[in-house]
């Protein structure tokens, strides 16, 4: 049976994996993917907490019961928009630098 601990533990693992990816990956696409992983671990926390911590009557108090879920959907929407913008920037970077490697030399290439 699923419990809150299982969900939060999974979310924490996903988040740490995401941070690890963000900190270590040199490829900007991989960094993006790691970021997405972090977003989703947060989404998982939202939904899990919403489900377990606030067991209110779905009929009388629907809006309160759905707060976490709504947040998760908002995050997904914003993340999608952000990925669109972010990938655009990656394209532009690629055109300028000829690479999408993250390094301290970024912006110094001609």
């Amino acid at each position: 049976m699923m419990s809150l601990e299982t969900i939060l533990g999974l979310a924490a693992m996903l988040f740490v994996i995401g941070i690890f990816g963000v900190l270590t990956k040199k490829n900007i696409i991989a960094v993006f993917m790691s970021l997405e992983l972090m977003f989703n671990s947060v989404n998982l926390t939202f939904v899990g907490l919403s489900y377990f911590v606030m067991p209110v009557n779905l009929v009388t108090d629907l809006s309160t019961a759905m707060t976490g879920h709504v947040f998760a959907i908002f995050v997904i929407a914003v993340a999608a928009a952000e990925v669109a913008v972010g990938l655009g920037i990656v394209f532009a970077l690629y055109r300028v630098n000829g690479s999408i490697e993250l390094s301290s030399d970024i912006g110094r290439a001609t």
Binding site: I19, V22, L23, T24, L102, S103, S104, I106
Partner: protein
Amino acid sequence: MSSLTIWLVFLAPLTSFVIISLIVRPFFSKHQWISPYLLIAGLSVSLVVSVMLFLDTLYTGGPGYNSAYQWIKINDAAIIDLGTYIDPVSSTILLVVVVVSLLVQIYSMGYMHGDIGYSRYFATMALFTSSMIGLVISSNIVQLYAFWELVGLSSYLLIGFWTERPAAAAAAKKAFIITRIGDVGFLIGILFLINHSFALPLSANVNVLHIPDICSLAGTMSAMIVTIITLGILSGAMGKSAQFPFHTWLPDAMEGPTPVSALVHSATMVAAGVFLLVRLFPFISASDTTMLIIAGVGAFTAVFAATMGLVVNDIKRVLAYSSISQLAYMFAAIGLGAFGPAIFHLITHAFFKALLFLCSGSVNHATHTFDMREMGGLRKYMPWTYGLMLVSSLSLIGLPPLSGFWSKDEIMLSAWEKMLHGSVFEITIFALLAIGVVLTAFYTWRMISLTFHGEYRGNDVGDGHGDHSIHESPRVMIAPMALLGVATVLAGFLTNPPVNVGPIHKHWLNDFISSSIVFHHGHHAAEFSVLVAILSTVLGLIGLGIAVYYYKLSQNGKKEPLESMKGFYGLIYNKYYLDDLYENIIVRNILQKRIVNIIAFVDKYVVDGLGLFLGFAVKNVGHVLGLFQNGNVQFYTFVISLGGVIGLIILLMYTPGLGG
């Protein structure tokens, strides 16, 4: 007379200074000719006001004390206010300062013609004149001290006027530093006065910084404190008036333009020391020690400076030593209690010594040198200058009926009377003053002889047509000299005649000076003594005779008669080695090697060390911190995450129920 009118005498030349230095010099450099006219206009206003003040003081007692503005109140008995105090002493000196200054400025128009710093010269002269006037009319000793330093500053600027000459710069520095050493004593005296104000009872109702009050202050102090304060003031006066041992700056000050020497370094500024002592005479004379020192310093310097004047070849330096010597006569007179004759001699000396300097300037204008070995025979080419120089020289020697005779005679008379019922000290004073008269006559005639008699020895032969380049100075220079010549002849007898002459009362100037209320029991002029008059005249004639004898024999001054006295000649030619003592031994060895080295060590290792350590620390800390700014975004993110984790751990540790 309103307070504003009195201030006008000071403000008029000050306005000229402001206009010349802030408007004419920066914006109208093509119209520099206007500068002297501005200054002369300002001084004319001053002249009118000072004549009015003099007559007012003479006939109705004068405006006395006028306070303009209370500046700082230290306590009830020590208030620094800005005001004017016009009494017989200051109104007389004021008139002399303004008259001599005006004549010298007119002369300067000719002498400084074509100089690059024409406007700068007149601006500084205006600053000097207004400061000198301010000094004379000051009612508060702190105010006087401020003007005292301002004239010192303008003296510095004027000595170093020709900034491209290293000698002038060095002389300016020397004058400034040496007078400053004396001024430290003056400042200490003022501080002691302020300190005394705390000990005064509330009912005393005096202001210890107010000059007329200072004069009556001696009774409230212990004799020791009076001596300390008066010695401090004396040290300031000695520095300004170039008395031994502060005399070394004045001969070097001759590096400045000649009209400056005439006005600043003989007629007015150097006489400020004498003026200060007379102004505070009742206070000064309360200390017998100080009076003895003044008399002793005066009599000694009178002879000491005169001996150095015997062998100098620079015409202006002869006059400089002569100024020191004549100021010493005034000091001696003050030390003997005869402030009236001291002021009288100050006035006549201002006229004839200014004239002597202007004559030497006129000679320089023609020959372009001050070295008397390259002059000679100028009598033919410069009759006016020769005549005026002769008159002023004979006045300096003290031959009747010229002004110098009357004033020097009064000083000799005071010394004579002291000697008659005095001890060895008074006899020594008189003897020194008498020797001084002989020496004065000798060096004065030597100067006349080397400059004007004999044959011309210089190389300045002009355009090959003989000595045509040597010519009399222009009228603008001769006219003020002639006016000073008139003053030289008349100022003595008419201002202080020994007998009633028609409407002119006998000794009226002396009685007028003594009538100032601060001199409670004024000085009564000694009755004219034919014996002393004959004695001082004969002494002058002896010195004159010796000089005529020597400088006729060794025609053209090929060899100095004194050179036969090897040791003595070397001593006086090297100015008693005092410059060497001051500069090589005191400054280089004691100050520089010992004290300055310690200070330099502290400066290098403590002060600089601290600065260097701070710089080193900042640089290295910055270097270490700079490692974090490596431009790697992932590194930054790592640090942020680490911070977040650490923050979270701390938060959890202190959360009740979890860790805290």
